[in-house]
């Protein structure tokens, strides 16, 4: 008799799913759906679309679970499916954040705000500045930053999701970070004026 799905590790759940056990796959859904949704929401316009893409990603994963190779983590494969779908949809709706160049050089005259007591992400206005800066990044830069810095994946995991070599991934991540940092420079410079 099989162990209850709630007590299985991810590898067991994937193997059972590959053997056609839907309850095992549903357990994978319970473990990963909220995080995938949160990632996808940063690529699309609204919560409804993010939920739809999340559902679609799991359906695709279920249909092709037998092709998944256990060399990598299940969630990196799942994130790739979800992000690719989100990118496809975002690219159909051109916006400042989907194409174009990235501005990442520091603003020379900006103050050093690293010790500013109000610099806390949970504070409304600055949180908004960061959210807007992330959303303004072109998709190829936004994804590395979200996966690595917001969702907390390791560099290796995030690079795997993006199907990039580690050097290329790190280069994009660095430029994305500098661009977001620059937006805060801009915010403080405006605040000083």
């Amino acid at each position: 008799m099989s162990a209850p799905v709630g007590t299985c590790d991810e590898r067991e759940l994937v193997e059972r799913s590959q053997a056609g056990d839907r309850l095992a796959f549903e357990e994978l859904v319970r473990r990963h759906a909220d995080r995938l949704y949160a990632v996808v929401l940063r690529f699309v316009a609204d919560a409804g679309e993010a939920e739809e893409i999340t559902q679609e990603a799991f359906l695709r994963a279920w249909r092709s679970i037998d092709r998944f190779e256990l060399r990598s983590r299940f969630f990196t494969w799942l994130y790739r499916i979800g992000i690719n779908e989100a990118k496809r949809r975002a690219e159909r709706r051109p916006s400042p954040g989907t194409v174009g160049s990235i501005e990442d050089s520091p603003i020379e005259e900006a103050p050093d705000w690293s010790d500013a007591p109000e610099f806390r992400a949970e504070q409304g206005q600055l949180r908004g500045v960061l959210e807007d800066a992330v959303r303004a990044l072109p998709l190829e830069y936004r994804a590395p930053l979200i996966l690595r810095d917001v969702e907390g994946l390791s560099t290796q995991e995030a690079a795997e999701v993006m199907e990039l070599g580690e050097a290329a991934f790190k280069s994009r991540l660095h430029r994305a970070r500098l661009a977001v940092r620059r937006a805060v420079d801009h915010y403080y410079l405006e605040a000083e004026r």
Binding site: A38, T54, F58, S114, R127, L130, V134, D149, V150, H174
Partner: protein, 85 residues
């Protein structure tokens, strides 16, 4: 004169290299020698020092963006999966 020019060239080379490796430094992804190289330059370059400090604060704050409460979407996914049967 030539010595000053050479020093300036070396400074600019270190400046570019450091600027390109600040993320690696913060991610603790450099060898001890490379870390020292960053720290040596940052100690004499106010520009890179400011970028490093503010970049560190930026990363700390980005982590805070993930703390939003999220609705559970698993039920909707499972419902669609069951509809596939």
């Amino acid at each position: 004169m030539i010595r000053r020019l050479l020093e300036r060239r070396r400074y600019m080379r270190e400046h570019r290299w450091t600027h390109g490796h600040l993320s690696d430094y913060l991610d603790d992804d450099l060898s001890p020698e490379e870390r020292e190289r960053v720290e040596d330059h940052v100690s004499i370059c106010p520009h890179c020092r400011r970028v490093l400090r503010t970049l560190r604060r930026t990363l700390e704050s980005l982590m805070g963006l993930s703390a939003e409460p999220r609705p559970s979407v698993a039920d909707g996914v499972i419902e669609r999966l069951r509809g596939e049967r």
